[in-house]
Point group: C2
Chain length 193, copies 2
Amino acid sequence: MSYPREQSIQQATEVFWLKGYLGTGMRDLQTALDKRPGSIYSAFGSKEGLYLEVLNHYTGVLHGQIMAVANSDTPLQQLREFLRFPLTVEDSAAHKIQCLIVKTQADWAELPEGVKSELQAALAHLREAFQAVILKARSTGELAADIPVERAAMWVQGQFIAMRTLATSVESPASLSWMVDKIVSDLSGEWTQ
Amino acid sequence: MSYPREQSIQQATEVFWLKGYLGTGMRDLQTALDKRPGSIYSAFGSKEGLYLEVLNHYTGVLHGQIMAVANSDTPLQQLREFLRFPLTVEDSAAHKIQCLIVKTQADWAELPEGVKSELQAALAHLREAFQAVILKARSTGELAADIPVERAAMWVQGQFIAMRTLATSVESPASLSWMVDKIVSDLSGEWTQ
DNA sequence: TAATTATTTGAACGATCGCTCAAATTTAAC
DNA sequence: GTTAAATTTGAGCGATCGTTCAAATAATTA
């Protein structure tokens, strides 16, 4: 049950991903969901409430993907494929290259308090998943035993952000796949304490 | 002459940096510049016109800083200090941790065409400066002779973005200085063609 | 000082913003 | 089939958006 609610969240995700939190108007959402304002407000309370559900759903999916990487037998190989994925979206969905969380975070000073705290929580939650990947790769021997786990997790998150941000400003995102290789390679590089 | 114009641009930079392009209202600018709308419009034409001057000024300063790194005798050492700088801003200016260009770029789909093209140009311009740093470091022997210059320049730009983005979501940005060391270290790492 | 030009002022315009709520409609319960 | 509850509708609210322009003021020239 409550199927149309899930559908509304997916349609709203499209809009927020394309236009950002500030850039998205209630009228954009009304069009995308094909619902009148009253329906949206009775279902989600406010624009912020709808966005928070979108963010929660988005983060959950992404977290699941990263945990699947962590739970595989060859986490480092799987991480490579995970990182490459955003570079393969078709032109018509170019807005999906950038991470929705990072995109929203750029408007920081103008965001409602509830959105700010949930963004922080989402980033921390995903960082935990990256940490699980590092830990697993260490246990399989794909990474050295003395790798600083927390730093490496944050670093991977940073690389994820860097690659996707650069990819949005380049003609052909797929041409950046060398960056994926360098990320995996640098993971085994120097980690001076 | 035209001193107050320069001053207006600096004050407007503060506001755009803090609130982003979409998040900044003409009334915010009127307050910051202590000017009435007519004055601003006669001087800059529009909100977009004022932003473009801000962007141009900002890019010029940043470009100059990177070229100074390139023109030093120890470019790699200077690059380290350049990268560390955004991590040292005081709490009261936390918005300056993130790069103004990257911040604006996040609102991509909602930006006027003129702003979009100037943002692309600014990123390309700064990439050229990073390229000059790589070239110089290669000539001083700080970097290997076979480093792929264009890719390395883009990669450094990506690391610059990653570090500053992560730094905005962390309690103490200065605690990320290990990331600067890793960037410099990874520059000498693997660059598989 | 008087005349001319350049700049600044600020009330106000039309458009859009997030959001409300009484009324209409659909769904569920008996 | 009737009634009650839940959901949807959409006109429209007050606030704010970027912008305009006739009038007032300041700066320059004669």
